[in-house]
Symmetry: C2
Subunit: 472 residues, 2 copies
């Protein structure tokens, strides 16, 4: 238990090192060991970077070392990207050097049937108490400290801004493409971890670490196989009253489980058991990749007090679709108070139909959105405000983005936006996302996310009442 705690604590060295060694650093631009050094340098990592390569004097302007043992200063962390056969040797050196955190990129272990080699590597890490991530992984990102051992260049895989979502993924490929997607959309992350074969640090260890991580408020997990289902469930049950967990389980179907087995060597399957376990532990389950971040990013907003949604739209048809989805998801259409109705009738043009969904008509400008938002903010019958903004109309410009962000910054009620469209729309969605206003491409995806959000809020309120520890 003490060893486990120490290992988890040592993850600090992975995410927040003052110094990092890149073992297998290379002068060749197309080599993984080059891309990683470059990402640390270009990304603006604030600590010391030590390239390790037996045959180079200098890499990207940095002095290169033959071994970590040749470095005089203290080294907190290492990224290893050497051939599989050389891993045990360099890891032993890391242990001797007192390095506490290691990201082992190298593949060629249990995923290709070499479980014994993997055990040998794990034993070295355990001997020295090293928090080792991998092997066969794609690296780690901490946007706040610019730790970036993801071995793909930035033009192919965008890096997200600093945010509150930690994302851990067994699959490097799935993880990578989602990080890229999030970066593009303006969604922020506190951590990204591709944990690969999980020889030492597994999903449970990461959950425990992230539960206590001040930078992380939402945890997103992509799982294929799970080594210790009981521990995962226990950890999740302890964490969800404090931080929401959104998870996707791949390899659910019989055929999918078969595919997963050949992919990571881990056992998958038993979908129904996972489903039930997630439900029990109040883990929010995503059925698709899209839902993973759709569900997670809504938690940038304050938790709602109930499930009554007020809808504001400049396109009547979108209000109809939103109402359909609201009903399908078991949410409630807020009944606007008489005071709200009266004030809206005064402020809105006579041809606007004052009801919920509130259609402020196709000629609505930013000011009309402001009036409508203010009215719903004041109305105690509205728990959540859904803004549908069609940026195609002539009267809408970037001003409405400021209105939405200002309303969101009050942190009184959750503000969620739906914007469907092309380039002009996408640009405005990115701006809103980067200020923490979650945006959705359709009423249905928004309502599905709001439903999970409201359910989680009810769980949190319940946990608080029953005297469980609550945070924030």
């Amino acid at each position: 238990m003490a060893a486990l705690l120490k290992k988890i604590r040592n993850l600090d060295a992975v995410f927040h090192p003052n110094s990092i060694a890149v073992i297998g650093a290379s002068r060749e631009p197309n080599k993984i060991g080059h891309v990683i050094v470059k990402n640390f340098v270009d990304g603006g990592f604030g600590g010391k970077i030590y390239p390790i390569n037996p045959n180079a004097e200098e890499i990207l302007g940095l002095r290169s070392y033959k071994s970590v043992l040749g470095i005089k200063e203290k080294v907190d962390s290492a990224v290893i990207a050497v051939p599989a056969a050389a891993v045990a040797g360099v890891l032993e050196e890391c242990g001797k050097k007192g390095i506490k955190g290691v990201v082992l990129i190298t593949g060629g272990f249990s995923e290709v049937g070499k479980a014994d080699e993997e055990k040998k590597v794990a034993a070295i890490a355990e001997k020295y108490g090293i928090a080792l991530i991998g092997p066969n992984c794609m690296g780690v990102l901490t946007p706040a400290t610019r730790v970036d051992s993801v071995f793909l260049p930035i033009y192919k895989l965008g890096r997200p801004r600093v945010g509150k979502i930690a994302f851990i993924s067994q699959s490097g490929a799935v993880g990578g493409c989602i990080v890229d997607l999030a970066a593009r959309a303006g969604i922020g992350m506190s951590k990204f971890v591709s944990y690969g074969n999980a020889a030492v640090i597994n999903e449970c260890d990461l959950l425990e670490y992230l539960a206590g991580d001040k930078e992380t408020e939402i945890i997103v997990v992509y799982l294929e196989g799970v080594k210790d289902g009981r521990r995962l469930l226990d950890a999740a049950r302890r964490i969800t009253p404090k931080k929401p967990i959104v998870a996707i389980k791949a390899g659910k179907s019989a055929a999918g489980a078969e595919a997963a087995k050949s992919h990571t060597g881990a056992l998958a399957g038993a979908a129904e058991a996972y489903k039930a376990a997630f439900r029990q532990a109040h883990v929010i389950e995503a059925e698709t990749l899209e839902q993973l971040f759709d569900f997670a990013k809504i938690f940038d907003q304050p938790l709602p007090r109930g499930k009554r949604v007020g809808i504001i739209t400049n396109g009547g048809g979108m209000g109809v679709l939103a109402t359909d989805s609201l009903e399908a998801e078991g949410l409630a259409l807020a009944r606007l108070s008489d005071a709200t109705n009266a004030s809206l009738r005064l402020s809105l043009p006579a041809y606007a139909n004052v009801r919920n969904p509130l259609d402020i008509i196709g000629d609505a400008d930013s000011h009309r959105y402001e009036v409508a938002i203010n009215a719903m903010m004041r109305d105690g019958n509205v728990d959540i405000i859904l803004l549908i903004i069609l940026f195609q109309t002539a009267a809408i410009d970037s001003g409405v983005v400021n209105i939405a962000i200002r309303a969101s910054d009050l942190r009184q009620k959750p503000i969620i936006a739906v914007c469907t469209g092309g380039e002009y729309t996408d640009m405005h969605k990115r701006i809103m996302e980067s200020y923490g206003v979650p945006t959705y491409a359709s009423p249905s995806s928004a309502m599905r996310s709001i439903a999970r959000f409201a359910e989680y809020a009810a769980h949190r309120a319940e946990s608080g009442k029953t005297g469980k520890k609550e945070r924030k």
Copy 2:
């Protein structure tokens, strides 16, 4: 019946006019009547454009007329964007001038309770046999002839390339944002029609017209209320053995129906009745806005002979997710033939696992995709090829796009792509879409679309056998 047929035939004047009058043309850049003239001019409309404005001599370099009756030459079509009170008068003039097609943008009729005014307008159109679209609509696009009466500027609402999908939408706002989305994604359209209050031309008339339209191979419909459900069902039943119809019905829920009523004045609801009717008529029903074009664009590919899918991926995790979705959608994982397995074992690296899903591993380049696609093309056990391409990996470049497009151009088997990611990925998705290779953001959205595609193909094959008229 003869009057109805004539009216439908007269839609040719709306979509393919040699000359068009813009009634309510304006010199003011922010006026609808200006934007429409500008769209015709800038878009490169090949015919004559006649701005109509009682107080202007010239608009955008074109001679302006006080009335259509002042034009000496024949005029095929008119767009009307004058205040509601002036509509009857100018429409009467259109009739006298022999104009056959009219797009009536102006709102302020049945949607605001003025059903009588709308009936008056409809009666004028009927008297002259004018195919009138609207009122209260957002206009019409025919990308091939550059007819563009959509009154929103191009930087806000992108115009799609020429393609095979006709999209008709009761709601202008929903229609517009989807057109914008399609334009951005590289999806092509044959026609877009926002038909608004449907005073004269309704969804059934448009379906009948599009059934015979050579430019249209796929029909997409956004419905709120329907005036004549029996006729819609009859028309759909006749059309679907020839052309697929994808439809979304808004106002399904009780609350949604209520919202729809206040929006367009049409009756909505009776969701289950629609669902059953769609199923009977083999209309492909979309549940969300995203599905509308997800389902439609796949028909750019040749119809599959069966539902056995071959999956090629450079990311193992994505193969697992795709297999889960395949099973959930009732599709079959193709069993690769012994010959395919043998040839793949020869051509692929030893560490690639030869099975379906075929994981060609994260270091796969374009050539490896080509080898895999060729093998699946030759294999009689594969009906549909799903390419998962993660553009984040170091070995992937634009070359793979050419491989995918060349394979698609053979028109032997449907090729569908899944690409998840940010900017670099989006660019490549747009290229593939613009060559008719449908792309999806996730395995689940692709599989859902493939399932509808395979079901429709089975229906078509069945219709052919039973001696019903089949086309292509």
